[in-house]
């Protein structure tokens, strides 16, 4: 296996991008990444794109060819492939691109993620996202994604004493971080009181415990170590990119307060990178709901099972803490553009490792990104180092 480097990153604005089409959004991220890598376009060998549901959000399938086309690459006839794993689709695209370069099959590969959700109403948008859970045996009963994460939160509270205030603190932190991120959807601070008094969506989760569903696109460009040297003096290397799956429905899992797919993928990733959880300096994790960030602290091994809330109480994961988590603002405040999220997380970690993260810059040599599909039936853990 060859060593793989990131030579360019790009990200569109995240949010309700009413005046931009799917194609416009993808292009804005793509152009930024090509400029960042100083690529002309002809050098690209392949594209992998994560997109959860072009079919239901846009009534458009065949997203792979569409993206290659509107990126101006149609006449180069390079292979373009769409991958899907609910809101872990971006993570999958990154892993496919990583494998294509690591294996020696290709030298320069684009990993993209994109979703345009606001062409359908908010209720339909949530119904589509909820199809990342089990449509027939969960969603049928009225257990949509917020209700399923609410049941995870309820049991975590019962078993480990996690409090509504702990969940709210995750939201407050991520909103504060997003004020420093020009691409973020929500760039204003919120108080603990506002979060704790927002209306219930699915008890115990309130409005400020739930990430929005957003429009957005992100792109990273990968190259072999040797090729990367020609394009950049500040390559960031991917030292592991591991994926795991689990039962699709929460009710079939061993324990709903642990995401076994995250445990499995992260253990593999640490082993492959030859490091331990304590060696991670910064992380982007999948806070589709605030409880998911607290569980991620535990399942990634930052703290033992049941003690995740302590990290947020003690400020360990704040921007100036020991392990800053979601410096971008996370899914909660940067926005959750479903298929784009896994790539956006990678972009964020790369910016920090290069020292290009602007006002939210943290001091880091190694970073981790965790992308989850649905309630945790897919997990992708990627470790980056400079």
């Amino acid at each position: 296996m060859r060593r793989v480097a990131v030579i360019g990153v790009g990200c569109s604005k995240f949010g309700e991008l009413w005046d931009m089409s799917f194609r416009d959004i993808v292009l804005s991220a793509g152009i930024e990444a090509l400029e960042d890598a100083n690529l002309e376009g002809r050098e690209i060998d392949a594209i992998y794109v994560g997109n959860m549901s072009g079919g239901r959000y846009l009534a458009q399938e065949h997203i792979s060819a569409l993206i290659a086309d509107y990126a101006g690459l149609a006449e180069l006839h390079i292979p373009s492939t769409r991958v899907e794993a609910g809101d872990a689709s971006g993570g999958l695209a990154l892993r496919q691109a990583y494998m294509a370069v690591a294996s020696g099959m290709h030298d320069i590969v684009i990993a993209a993620g994109a979703e345009k959700v606001t062409d359908v109403g908010a209720e339909m948008a949530m119904d589509i996202l909820s199809s990342s859970a089990d449509r027939e045996w969960e969603v049928f009963c009225g257990a949509n994604l917020p209700a399923l994460f609410a049941m995870i939160a309820r049991l975590h509270m019962e078993k480990f004493g996690t409090k509504p205030e702990d969940l709210a603190k995750v939201s407050v932190k991520n909103h504060r971080n997003a004020t420093l991120n020009p691409k973020a959807q929500f760039r204003r601070e919120i108080s603990l009181e506002v979060a704790l008094n927002s209306p219930y969506v699915a008890e115990p989760l309130r409005l400020f415990d739930c990430a929005p569903i957003s429009d957005g696109a992100s792109v990273v460009i990968l190259a072999s170590e040797e090729v990367a040297r020609k394009y950049t003096d500040t390559p960031v290397y991917i030292s592991a990119c591991c994926q795991a799956s689990d039962y699709i429905a929460l009710h079939s899992r061993r324990d709903i307060t642990t995401m076994d797919a995250v445990v499995y993928a992260s253990k593999q990733a640490y082993k492959q990178a030859g490091i331990e959880p304590k060696d991670i300096d910064v992380a982007e994790v999948h806070d589709s709901f605030t409880i998911a960030e607290i569980i991620a602290y535990e399942d990634l091994g930052f703290v033992e099972k049941g003690r995740g809330a302590e990290l947020i109480r003690e400020g360990v994961t704040e921007l100036d803490g020991e392990i800053p988590v979601n410096p971008s603002g996370g899914l909660k405040a940067c926005g959750h553009a479903i298929g784009a999220t896994g790539i956006r997380q990678a972009v964020e970690i790369v910016l920090h490792l290069r020292g290009d993260a602007g006002k939210r810059q943290v001091d880091a040599e190694r970073g981790l990104a965790l992308n989850i599909g649905g309630t945790g039936a897919t997990a992708v853990v990627t470790i980056f180092e400079r």
Binding site: F140, V201, A202, A249
Partner: protein
């Protein structure tokens, strides 16, 4: 009615699950392959008792379209006495529900599909007062 729905009617209405005779595990929703035994699976259909306890729950306020009429409603993970955990609705006052409470299955209406007006039925649960 969508074929993907009526294909499952027997299992939804009557709480029919499956049992693996090789390892002695019950499954609901039914599975044709036991994830513990895979090729050695020996699966047969079984009627489940419909008795169990609440593992976790949520009171849903921001309800999906088909469930607006019912909100707020209670969804729960219920562990049946035979072992499998099932996602279902609980018919009770939101303030009644507690983790660990005993419940039993009943047959109820689930929802209506907007324009077509098709009514879906299935299994829900109610507090099992005899025991708790």
């Amino acid at each position: 009615m969508l074929p993907r729905f009526w294909r499952k009617i027997k299992y939804r209405y009557n709480l029919v699950g499956t049992y693996c005779e090789n390892c002695g595990t019950y499954y609901y929703p039914p599975r044709n392959l036991c994830p513990k035994c895979r090729r050695k699976s020996r699966i047969k259909e079984v009627q489940l008792s419909g008795k169990g306890k609440v593992i976790s729950y949520s009171i849903v306020h921001d309800a999906p379209e088909n469930f607006k009429m019912m909100k707020p409603y209670v969804v729960a993970l219920i562990q049946l006495d035979e072992g499998p955990v099932i996602t279902s609705q609980l018919v009770c006052k939101p303030e009644e529900v507690k983790i660990g409470m005993r419940v039993k299955a009943i047959f109820r209406k689930y929802g209506e599909e907007g324009e077509s007006g098709i009514i879906y039925y299935g299994t829900k649960f109610v507090p099992d007062e005899k025991i708790s």
